[in-house]
Assembly symmetry: none
Homo-oligomer: 197 residues x 4
DNA sequence: TATGAATGAGGCTTCATTCAT
DNA sequence: AATGAATGAAGCCTCATTCAT
């Protein structure tokens, strides 16, 4: 099927562009990466970029979109059968490590992008809620202790996580923040919730 | 005092540039505001900008620097004689409302700027710590309850605050987030800390 | 060979830019020629210039470099089989006539340029030494007369030549200096060396 | 005489501008020195420059003009009662040393300036001819040797001198050329003329 | 006369996007 | 689909000169 081959080829090129863009965005930042950068890194002509994507923005949005899905899947897989809040959070943290650079970039850029991508990380958060919430609630009940709404539980986790991530320059200059402080962040969160498992 | 008048004039122009820049930065974002924008808004020729600031970057940094100081002072004043954690946080929140747009911009831009400005918000945070910490500790002791380190107390507040702020588009599209959710954020934080005053 | 055509095209444009630049540099002077001048004269958009050369300086240096080589070749060819000092010098002078304007410009500009181009005219001088030196030495020996070091022979020729050239406005305002005074300069030089062939 | 005092003052300021300009031109080059440079160095406001000179060009021309006169006088004085060609040339060379930087600058810039300044160095050359010519001629006669026209005698001296000066970067990088090679240049010239006194 | 802030006309460079091949 | 030269709209910055004080 000649036709099929062509389309397959095209799809591959498109994917290559997206992968290169993702890598560059994570490395140098989204704004600092221009279309010529992406093209040359993808061993493509500059013009070819625009055969696959009408505008630069389209690439950015698609990369972000794909990222949301991929990260979500990856995390779901990683969190796997963890049961206690701590193990769940540690799995999450560990899984995120590989995506750290882009994730941080995303935190900074997302608010400036059109609404339709803004929810990109929601997928991750919602997926993760599925694991974290029951575990936390269970612990809370056992401790007969504090009751925090579901959104409170989720928000405070992501708030803390994002806080450290956006201040990486401060907490882990030129290093992986999560590698260095992943456990600490998890502990800090659990302390906050008065949970110790 | 001719001499004095002149200097005063110059200082006024310089301030006008900074104010216009501040406003534009808050409105359109720092990166999206160019020097010509600032000039025309300040009713100056483009070249005049560079009489007062050698480079665009110098304007950006100065605006941020001034912002840190001004916000810090403003908040200190506002928090005034508040005693309980809740009243302190509410004062803070209210005081910040006026600066909300630029503050959010800053959260997004700061990590990409040179190190020497990165601490710009530290002034605010440190100043505020002076008020918040004792109040929270007092409550914690009375409640004979959870003990959180100082940095934990501060971090969780700013983490939560920044989380909501950077997601303003989600929580309060086209509105002032703090006006709409200031109280809620404070409550959520206090719940988290198990404090009710 | 589509590929080849493209590259050829590109090379042609690049050459067009260099030629236009060369012409303009000779006409108006290097400093007085701006990139927009070159672009419009080459029937290109301003931006296109920077597709072929990263900076204006790169154009300047390349034009000078090429000039050195071309002039050197051209002179070597022209001087050809001339045997006597006089015929050699006249050939040189004649060959230089076509390049007079740029050559003068170069004399004035070279000292202000980076070291690596400063030797640009050395190629010409060294190449020419190969012809002039033996001929002059032969004459000197025959005349059993003055002995001048090699560098003395070369320096005095170029000194005299450059002297007249840099003072063209005085000696041949609005005309070609070499056309008008080429012979005279040669004669003056030969007299100085006490050579009459 | 209030009036007189004022005028004197004004004249002084004018002179200060010219002196500063001269110094800066010699240091950084004429083109690289801007009016603001001159003003601040002269401890004057930028605008004040234009009270004394209508345009920047006017300063340049005046500095050059004055330079011609001053150098001429200085050299005349220095050459003093020297009798032999060698001593005359050495005096000239020595006298020029102090003015070397600007003199070189002038050689490069003069051809680009309006005709009326182009003769600026003529004063020097003509003045000097008055000393050099008789001395050289005397020697030539005694040697019953070569007869060179007056202009030939003068031109070859200045040609050689200027040749070395414009190639200072090559012959005496970052040093005074005349201090280093003054004698050598004189010798080379005298050899050329077959004179040994 | 002196001041110096302001002007405005350039000048160089970048970059997403287009278009002929 | 791919190429990559060309486009053109900005963007930042410089500097001689002017002008109100």
């Amino acid at each position: 099927m000649e036709r099929g081959k062509r389309e397959q080829q095209k799809e591959q090129t498109r994917q290559r562009i997206l992968e290169v863009a993702y890598r560059k965005f994570a490395e140098k930042g989204i704004e600092a990466t221009n279309t010529a950068d992406i093209a040359s890194e993808a061993k493509l002509s500059h013009g070819a970029i625009f055969v696959h994507f009408k505008t630069r923005q389209e690439i950015v949005l698609k990369v972000i979109d794909d990222f949301g899905v991929e990260l979500s899947v990856h995390i779901t897989k990683s969190v796997g059968h963890s049961r206690t809040p701590r193990s769940i959070l540690l799995s999450f943290t560990k899984a995120l490590t590989k995506f750290e650079a882009f994730y941080i970039e995303l935190l900074l850029v997302l608010p400036k992008l059109p609404e339709n991508v803004q929810g990109s990380l929601l997928l991750v958060q919602n997926g993760f809620a599925h694991y974290l919430l029951p575990a936390v609630k269970r612990e809370m009940e056992e401790a007969k202790f504090k009751r925090l709404g579901e959104s409170g539980i989720m928000n405070s986790w992501f708030a803390l996580l994002h806080y450290y991530m956006t201040n990486r320059n401060w907490y882990a200059p030129n290093k992986s923040l999560l590698k260095k402080l992943g456990k600490k962040i998890v502990n800090e969160y659990l302390e906050l919730l008065n949970i110790n498992k």
